[in-house]
């Protein structure tokens, strides 16, 4: 168990390091902060002066070191636009994003678990075909379009739900459904294949031979074991889930990190963009590590192998 933990920790550190390098290089190597910050008509002289002023004439690794040491202390510089610390701005917008993500995950599981189990138990039946169709359609659906269509139908036509905004439970319904519809297809497939695999195992036969009722076989034996691959992949999909939340937010004007990031991109406010990218990636890494740990705890086979 200790070797497993150490291995996970080393990987965690390496990935976080990689993220910081990537986030740094997006602004400092692909782009040039000075040209982005100065007005278009600024002369060569001012360019050089600003470059020196911002410490951008120093070697790139020293700049990175400054960025990284600052970032570790939660200092991503000040917003160029709002003149507040970038870190504060991003952290303030974090809760709505997290709530939306959790709500979306909930909806996805609500759709995927029953349908996936049903499809696995009645293979090649009507339900199974329906699930496959739903999964294929769901994967092809651009969620920003789905969101807009939901708004047109439920907010504009039927006037049942608020079109955008944040605060009441009604505000959650459409965004959460949108995000859930994004994640449900892949989850459904996983549940289905997980259950199918488990149902063919020896211990299921044993349970049946012992005379355990079929319902109990499914609920107590099959489902629990099928949960492991589902948890693993849901953990890995967490990044995608946040990505989906990102898209959903922009459609429903949800006051989360995504809306902030897109606004900051429009305002060319790079410290905020950089900070949002690093923090979101950090959350994903931590969730992934946590899921790995959890799965390792549940299933001793994983601890021992790979």
């Amino acid at each position: 168990m200790r070797r497993y933990l150490v291995r996970q920790l080393v990987q965690l550190v390496v990935v976080i390091l990689g993220i910081s390098i990537l986030a740094f290089s997006i602004l400092h190597i692909i782009g040039d902060p000075v040209t982005l910050l100065l007005p278009q008509n600024a002369g060569k002289e001012e360019y050089v002066r600003y470059k020196h002023l911002m410490g951008l004439d120093q070697p790139i690794w020293i700049q990175y070191w400054k960025f990284a040491t600052g970032a570790v202390q939660g200092d991503f510089g000040r917003s160029w636009y709002g003149n507040a610390p970038a870190f504060r701005l991003v952290v303030d917008r974090m809760p709505p994003t997290i709530y939306l993500t959790l709500a979306g995950l909930g909806v996805a599981l609500l759709i995927a678990l029953p349908l996936g189990v049903l499809a696995a138990l009645k293979r090649h039946s009507f339900v199974d075909t329906l699930c496959t169709l739903l999964a294929v359609a769901g994967q092809a659906m651009p969620i920003f379009w789905l969101g807009i269509m939901l708004i047109i139908i439920f907010a504009v036509r039927l006037r049942l739900l608020p079109a955008s905004g944040y605060g009441t439970w009604q505000n959650f319904i459409m965004p959460a459904f949108c995000l859930g519809a994004f994640l449900a297809p892949i989850t459904m497939r996983l549940v289905r294949s997980g259950i199918i695999e488990v149902m063919n195992m020896e211990f299921i036969k044993t349970a049946r031979a012992k005379g355990v009722a079929e319902r109990m076989v499914v609920v107590k034996h099959a489902f629990r074991n099928a949960c492991i691959p589902v948890i693993t992949v849901l953990g890995l999909q967490f990044g995608q889930l946040l990505g989906g939340a990102f898209i959903t937010e922009t459609v429903f004007a949800w006051p989360g990190v995504a809306t902030l990031t897109v606004d900051s991109i429009r305002n060319q406010d790079f410290p905020v963009v950089q900070c949002a990218v690093v923090l979101l990636a950090l959350i994903i890494v931590i969730v992934n590590a946590f899921v790995d740990l959890l799965v390792g705890l549940i299933d001793p086979r994983i601890r021992a192998g790979a």
């Binding site: 990689g18 993220i19 990537l22 692909i30 092809a140 990031t261 991109i265 990218v277």
Partner: protein
């Protein structure tokens, strides 16, 4: 070309089913392929209409007609046969714009996929073949890249580079490769210990020759399948970037920016946003069907 293990796998797959179920399995496979063929047919229509846009589109997609703005689709009250899908906020014909919009999506989709497939396959082959430190470095890079939501990474880079079609292709191409690399790496791992590779090595072939002449030909099926499915993902992402105004810039019609513009008018004229989005959905749907069909056809045992 090497003796294809993919061919042996397919052959084994054909022999494997027990006799009583064989006919049923064959029918089911054909049933699944039917969807794939249907998808491919519709996709062909989409591609043709994009290629032939100058010929088949009823109007100039850019010609403004302010007197006939927000005309509803032909089947609704106030719609005309002149504009089958209606017109947008400044009177441009929506059908023509949807037809022209397909060009951008397809060009960006295919180019970005070619770029990311090339990078991903090279990285995947290197990691799988050389293993050890090379593998560790590439896997770390893959893990870092996969940690970021694709959307976030693409957005951040576009923000710095500025929105334009070539930039978008570069960004989507360069950020999309880990998907291929991971799959190709796993497949290469399995192949590198096979007899024909060992034999090639014993014969003294160079690494490059073994990788590209012995191993790569066996990986064509998974590459084709993943690349096909990825086109759909890239099209969705491209549309999203254009939707946010960070992709194709108006007035050039692209499904994404039409959707973004139409969203402002959804209170009165739902069709301006609805049809471009429907075009995205149909295109990605048929590409997915085609990709799934390809997978079943090339190698029913492929785990993708």
């Amino acid at each position: 070309m090497a003796v294809g293990p993919s061919a042996t796998v397919t052959a084994a797959g054909l022999q494997a089913p027990a006799a009583p179920d064989a006919a049923g399995a064959a029918w089911r496979r054909l049933g699944r392929l039917k969807w794939g063929v249907g998808g491919a047919a519709v996709f062909l229509v989409v591609v043709l209409s994009a290629v032939l846009a100058p010929v088949i589109s009823p109007h100039d997609p850019l010609s403004v007609d302010i007197r006939h703005r927000m005309v509803p689709p032909a089947w609704m009250d106030g719609g005309t046969r002149e504009h089958l899908l209606g017109t947008d906020q400044i009177g441009r014909d929506l059908l023509s714009r949807v037809i022209w919009g397909g060009r951008v999506s397809l060009v960006v989709g295919v180019s970005a996929v070619l770029l990311s497939a090339t990078i991903g396959v090279l990285f995947g082959l290197a990691a799988g073949y050389f293993a050890g430190q090379v593998d560790w470095s590439i896997m770390t890079l893959i893990n870092v890249m996969l940690t970021f939501p694709f959307v976030l990474l693409a957005l951040a880079v576009i923000a710095v580079l500025g929105p334009s079609v070539p930039n978008m292709i570069t960004v989507l191409g360069v950020t999309g490769w880990p998907v291929y690399a991971r799959i190709i790496r796993a497949e290469t791992f399995a192949l590198r210990e096979r007899e024909f590779v060992l034999a090639a090595r014993a014969l003294g072939m160079s690494h490059a020759r073994i990788i590209f002449r012995q191993i790569l030909p066996n990986l064509v099926s998974p590459i084709v399948v993943v690349a096909t499915l990825q086109i759909a993902q890239v099209i969705i992402l491209e549309s999203f970037l254009s939707f946010l105004g960070l992709g194709v810039q108006p007035p050039t019609p692209a499904w994404g920016n039409m959707l973004g513009e139409g969203r402002v008018y959804m209170l009165n004229s739902w069709w301006i946003a609805a049809f471009p989005g429907l075009a995205i959905f149909i295109t990605t749907l048929v590409i997915n069907l085609m990709g799934n069909g390809l997978r079943d056809w090339l190698d029913p045992h492929m785990k993708l």
